[in-house]
Subunit: 339 residues, 2 copies
């Protein structure tokens, strides 16, 4: 069989399964989809026939006929952050056993790129979408609303009425970091943030709020850099901050890689952590517990967010909209030697 020019796939089709099991194609279709109106005995016969032929439904034909695919689109702002990898992995674990394909779109923290991805992925007629947070372009919003595709938002809570979200309060996480440092007796508190996506800004806001409550706000100790977060940048921003404000005694880093870079930079410069300056990171990436000294960090439930968001979406697909609109999975302060 030559590949080019052949219009058929060469794979077994539903019609063959039907013939082999002695039923009509439509009954075979229903049996394989688990539609309840098929007698158990027949269904079993169809399953057996399908298995013996190695039949796998053609997703293109299926999508065309039913005007919806068995794909779920996940849009995330970055792949280079371990955070989203863990979330993705958990989503896969929920979706694959249900026969749902996961299409991953990385929009590189660019809402215009996200809009393009949405436009393109909607052509695939996904049965659901998992989105990161709530900030998006007006065009994206229009596309999503017009499409009526069920969706769940991840990582942040809130959003417009009726929106399902699974995550935790980024604001409270930032506040918790500040409170911890205050509890440790630190008074000149700084925060260092990069990337400056909405979630980072919410954490920063929470941190600020705690300082205001303690009467210790110090806007001159806020370092906000729009560059992507990285270990190198963390070291750099840390050095710069210390040069500018040598009396800083506690720092909250809005991402763990920044904090890791700072810990390493402190080692190089002989700055004692936490004696001279305490450090708190965010996300509790695997490396943080192994830093010297081990890094205090806020552990975020990234796998759980993926899992719960996927399950919430499955609930929407099944029509049974279970649970609260906002699922707060919380976070955990992992206190280690850096603070």
């Amino acid at each position: 069989m030559s590949r080019t020019g052949s219009r058929t796939t060469g794979r077994p089709t539903l019609a063959e399964v039907a013939r082999l099991s002695g039923v009509s194609p439509i009954t075979a279709s229903r049996a394989l989809r688990g539609v309840s109106t098929v007698a158990p005995a027949l269904a079993e016969k169809v399953m057996a026939a399908a298995a013996s032929l190695g039949y796998i439904a053609n997703p293109a034909a299926r999508a065309l006929a039913s005007a919806r695919s068995h794909s779920v689109v996940v849009l995330i702002p970055s792949l280079s952050n371990q955070l989203f990898i863990d979330t993705l992995e958990a989503i896969h674990e929920v979706m694959r056993p249900r026969g749902l394909e996961v299409l991953i779109g990385n929009y590189h923290y660019d809402i215009a790129e996200e809009e393009n991805l949405i436009r393109n992925y909607l052509a695939y007629q996904p049965c659901g979408m998992l989105l990161t947070g709530f900030e998006r372009s007006e065009g994206s919003r229009l596309l999503l609303n017009a499409s009526q595709v069920p969706r769940v938002h991840m990582m942040e809570l809130g959003g417009e009425a009726g929106a399902l979200s699974v995550g935790f309060s980024q604001f409270e996480a930032g506040r918790a970091a500040a409170r911890h440092l205050l509890q440790r007796g630190r008074r000149r508190l700084a925060f260092i943030a990069a990337q400056l996506d909405p979630r980072v800004m919410q954490r920063a806001e929470g941190f600020r709020q705690a300082l205001v409550e303690a009467g210790l706000q110090a806007t001159e100790l806020e370092v906000l850099d729009p560059q992507p977060s990285s270990i190198g940048l963390g070291g750099e921003l840390f050095s710069r901050l210390l040069a500018k404000a040598p009396d800083v005694d506690g720092i909250f880093f809005c991402n763990d890689d920044l904090a890791q870079g700072a810990v390493l930079q402190a080692l190089r410069e002989g700055i004692e952590v936490p004696r001279r300056v305490a450090m708190v990171g965010f996300n509790d990436l695997p490396a943080s517990a192994h830093m010297v000294p081990p890094l205090t960090s806020i552990r975020t439930p990234r796998a759980a967010v993926g899992r719960s968001a996927a399950q919430a979406l499955l609930g929407l697909l099944d029509g049974k909209r279970v649970g609260a609109e906002q699922q707060d999975l919380g976070f955990e302060l992992m206190v280690r030697e850096s603070s």
Copy 2:
């Protein structure tokens, strides 16, 4: 018109584009696909009509009619390794501008899971596949050969005759690590490996070979652990090795995260690097240059592998099989203070 719209997508169709531009649907189809037999003037009219309607071709209908989709399947053994993230990103950069969807399959270093993924993804009638290395199950091999889907292998070189591969010699990389340590005057050389996938074993083999050539082979200094590679494991294996063989003066780690863990462990234990023991990592992950001391590592062309593999696949799809069967992109030893 049927009563319910549930079978239709609600999106503009090719027929509407054709109507608006005053040509037949098939001509519109050809114009939008860039088939050359359409007069430029007509083609332009069709493009304009499509743009004004916001037309996006229905991939399901397209795949069904032509028995092949516009998807490319990429199978990788892990997502938690930054290595493959960079490769994936590069693949996306080549494929997306060509209108090709990238389907990512993570088989978690499990060739049985890979076989399942292949079986499922073949149902999507991908126009091409990018595979990692050459080790796979017999079932996978049969499926791939039966499917005739064009494919390119990444990361390793070689494979059966006619196979296209883009990567570098893992063996030579391991050998280069050993030679570097020998050049530095180290004589009691160990290697520490985890995960033990085929590429790790090839690097180990190259390392061994260099030691044999130098008459310094020491099988008692080989640490092979099947667990997934991680920072924590690196520190652990390093401590264990040093307890068992205190005279070790150089170590090659088959993955950078192992090496990073070891550097940090050495810091904690007060073991001087490189004075007492020199260290060389593999992959040159972003964090390695920021370790204390900065880690010597072998930089692998992971983004270039993705890019070139994607381009080689595009070449296959266009029928012009360009370049060599094996594209060796080499590697680079990044010498830093740890050795």
